[in-house]
Symmetry: C2
Subunit: 618 residues, 2 copies
Amino acid sequence: QMPRGNLETVHHRALVLAQLRQWLDSLRFRETFECMRKLRINLNLIYDHNPKVFLENVKTFVTQLDSINYINLFLTELKEEDTASTMYPRPESSCVQSQPAPGQKKVDVVCDSLRSAMESMDPNKFCLSILTAHVKKTVPELEVALQKVRKLRENPPAAPGAVTAEEALKYLLFLVNVNDLYEHSLGTYDFELVLMVAEKSQKDPKEYIPFLNMLKSLEPNYQRYTIDKHLKRYRKALHHLSKCGEEHFPEALKLVKEQKLYSEALRLYTANGAQYKALSCAYAEHLVEQQQAEQAGLLLWRCGETIRALQAFASSSSWRNAICVAQQIPLPPDQLALLARDLAEKLTEQRRYSEAALLLDQYAKDCEEAIVALVTGAVWDEALRLIYMHNRQDITETNLKPALTEAVGTQVVFLEAQVATFTRHRARLAVVREQKQKARLDMLDEDGPDCPDAELYSEASSVMTSSKYSQSNSRISSRSSKNRRKAERKKLSLKEGSPMEDRALMHALGEIITTVDKMREEVHNLLKALVLFQFDKQAEKLQVVYEEALQMMESAVPEVWPEGLPNNQAPLTGPNSTANSIMASFQQQKPAASQQDAEVLTPPKMRNGVKWKLTILK
Amino acid sequence: QMPRGNLETVHHRALVLAQLRQWLDSLRFRETFECMRKLRINLNLIYDHNPKVFLENVKTFVTQLDSINYINLFLTELKEEDTASTMYPRPESSCVQSQPAPGQKKVDVVCDSLRSAMESMDPNKFCLSILTAHVKKTVPELEVALQKVRKLRENPPAAPGAVTAEEALKYLLFLVNVNDLYEHSLGTYDFELVLMVAEKSQKDPKEYIPFLNMLKSLEPNYQRYTIDKHLKRYRKALHHLSKCGEEHFPEALKLVKEQKLYSEALRLYTANGAQYKALSCAYAEHLVEQQQAEQAGLLLWRCGETIRALQAFASSSSWRNAICVAQQIPLPPDQLALLARDLAEKLTEQRRYSEAALLLDQYAKDCEEAIVALVTGAVWDEALRLIYMHNRQDITETNLKPALTEAVGTQVVFLEAQVATFTRHRARLAVVREQKQKARLDMLDEDGPDCPDAELYSEASSVMTSSKYSQSNSRISSRSSKNRRKAERKKLSLKEGSPMEDRALMHALGEIITTVDKMREEVHNLLKALVLFQFDKQAEKLQVVYEEALQMMESAVPEVWPEGLPNNQAPLTGPNSTANSIMASFQQQKPAASQQDAEVLTPPKMRNGVKWKLTILK
């Protein structure tokens, strides 16, 4: 902002910037700096104009400026913003890479390179600028700065006019909030430094002297812990507390629980110790609350808390671990069987029939229940295995065969329903596409988007900036953008006439194909079981129905997902076409290109490599 | 083809066709027919002009023609071709549906509808036309025609001038090859009919009389079998032979094997009989030869051939069935254990470790080998289950733990390699895209495709039909189409500079993402096992490496698969753009749209729903 009424400072900015750029290119930093200061141009431009060149010439910069004040001014004005692209955009011809290495911040890069240049040139002379460079970093290096002040006091530099510790500290206090500086001085655990800062501050000695004395009286690790805790540096606090011996462990455990420093704590104590176990138990409790019972179980188990581990595993359906722990305890056989039954019940609820059957068979020793679970889950081959293993062929008649005939009926009905839905959607898709194509041609035939369907194709009009189209129809354009957002929301509605009905139909058709295709293994296994028990007729029926369904869907793919759909409609050219009409014909296909659409536009993969048909059924 | 020198028959075809269409529309079939005959216009047009109208007015057609000869002429000239779209294309204004119901053939539809019209009008009068309609069907109905002739002979029609059996047969022989007719008469198993045809034919009675006499002497089913076999109607032959009693079964089995009529044969014999068993065994042998040993096993097992079933199952790694059969036999324990070991070995080779372990544990009773198999397959939780089940914690130290630390190392190295390749491909992709974009702009800036990169974008020029572009560069255009075919072949080559290198890179990047994403479950299980055995450091390393890999890849997705890639480059418009230049800018993006590309253009789905991280590792 320019001060009002100061006319002599009014310059044509473009000319000024051109001059500055020229100076910067020829490394005339001093002129640049003074001009920028005078005309209140943001000093960041010195770096932003060409970061690489600046970094390579930091010493020249420092030498030319030759002023602690100037350098400090430059440092304090630094910010992340790239002024060469925001405030003072580069002329188009230049192509300077503006970003530093990824992950690095511009401010930090500049501070560090300036500081190391000054340190190598004359650390005493540039003392205050060096401190500024520490303080201005994204995460201010206050402790380093304080340490440097302390060094100044311990070894006052001999050079004439060198900055004293006093002056440096004063300067720091000018840059940084006094409380922040005090806290950070505490964080160095260096009481001399703390006192030095405290004295310079307006703090009441009655307040800080007793506190410092109390701290000084403590055992070093406990002292550091107390300071860290005071500064809310809980990780460091825990680290120091862990070195304070067993008698402080309850305090440590409390800190861990309060600050949820479980993982860190486990690293600080030796495994297999009592403290490690206590920490593990505390962590496990926390994990159970966080619905992470399985991980809680792992912690408990490995530190020998088997009973509690068992509970954790059982509650999280981590059945293998539960059973292992139970056998390690060891649980008496009847209780193990009960546990197995409980776990199996939960697994059955989750449709994990094979696992339930394993538990029932091997731990509850109830092969009948196990076989029933497998039959329920349509795991025919495993059911048969257990039947023969336990010589229970009777179950074949009572359970397996009836389940097989029921399953084949269910599958056939299911497939027929899928085929019916598919056929309906496919027919509707053809209708919708024809309508859209017609509406599209209608719109492009006309002079402007006055036809009722025009809003559907708002993309066409909304992107054209310099045509009579958008200029004369800005009202429609803004209206249609609202409509577009609306369309986005109900994008994939199957409701007849919804704007994206074609996409919704494609999505639904894709889902059906995926569902049906997924059944290959299941159908294959069912067919084999049916043949084994001489249910050839039913098996043939299923094979025919499934094959027809797959073939019908596969043959529909090129129709539903035509080759190159996004551009499938030939560009609308002809004697009457204009640049705009062609643009429009392309633009309206644009919605096809979004990420979500790309998925809808890709036909689902059919796993024709998975052979499911039986040769013996024809 | 018009006879030469016959000038009065030269008419202007368009005028004639217009007249014919008008007549057909007003159902003036007689005029139409005579005119078409005279001018040698294909008679199919009578139907093709408007199939629906013709079929609704078949009786009018017959009545107007009122000539057996004319109707026969029309029938004999019928063919599948739609002359209204091939020889005599419809004027654009009309929009007649030319296709009959799907699955039906035009010739059959016309024959059937004409025949049934004539039969309802006057079967005697139209006798010969009715026979023609039978004979002209896609699969000639010779037997039906022959039966009608026979009826004529048995009940000669009283009507004056009605066709006699004699005449009808003569006419049939004129339409159909005499040998065909003789064979088909045999196929009716009606010896009177056979004799009738034979007499009319030029066949030598010394030849057919003894054959017919021999046939007459046979038992009816065996007679029909003999005829069917003579006519190479093997299914029918088998059907009749199966009714001839046990003494003919060897002949049936031979026929089944020769003609591979196994499935049909099994339907003809009752299950559980000796013949059924023999057929099953024969079929099983055939299936084993066809690499379908599992299905062979099912057939053998269900008919009680357990030993052979076991062989079949074992040879096809159908281990559950093999074990079931083995226990049904029952195999002695030591042989069962051997079988289990053999099967387990095969499964291990196929990396099916869990199944191998089940066999070793439950049937070979060798829990140590089972656990080793599970450890080899990285099935940590199941390995642990068996360790505790059999109280073999010693294996934890000797096998499980060393395998865990090895696995974590392998995984980390693998992931780091994947990340490195990914990063390399990603960087290269950015370079390739920039080059292509630049080349694209260059091309569009210039007047013609003279720049060296133009061929890469041949799609742009090759589609424009009416611009100076393609007209002045046809040489380049044809050259580039050759190049395009070449590009198609090596489409997805990662070689630097290959025409589709960007696509190839996207493909490779997608593959890496899929591979890495697939590891979620594996990594999760490994992490849990590592934590359990206190390998927290290694687990943490793996967790960090895997998480970084996933994050890096996920964050790369929008860059590699930018939103709406096919149209991602803004259309090139501006003051100097023309309809053609805009077209070109779109057209060259067209290759993006093919089906294969659609897959490459869709970012792989990452299964972020699969939680793999452990909270306890940080």
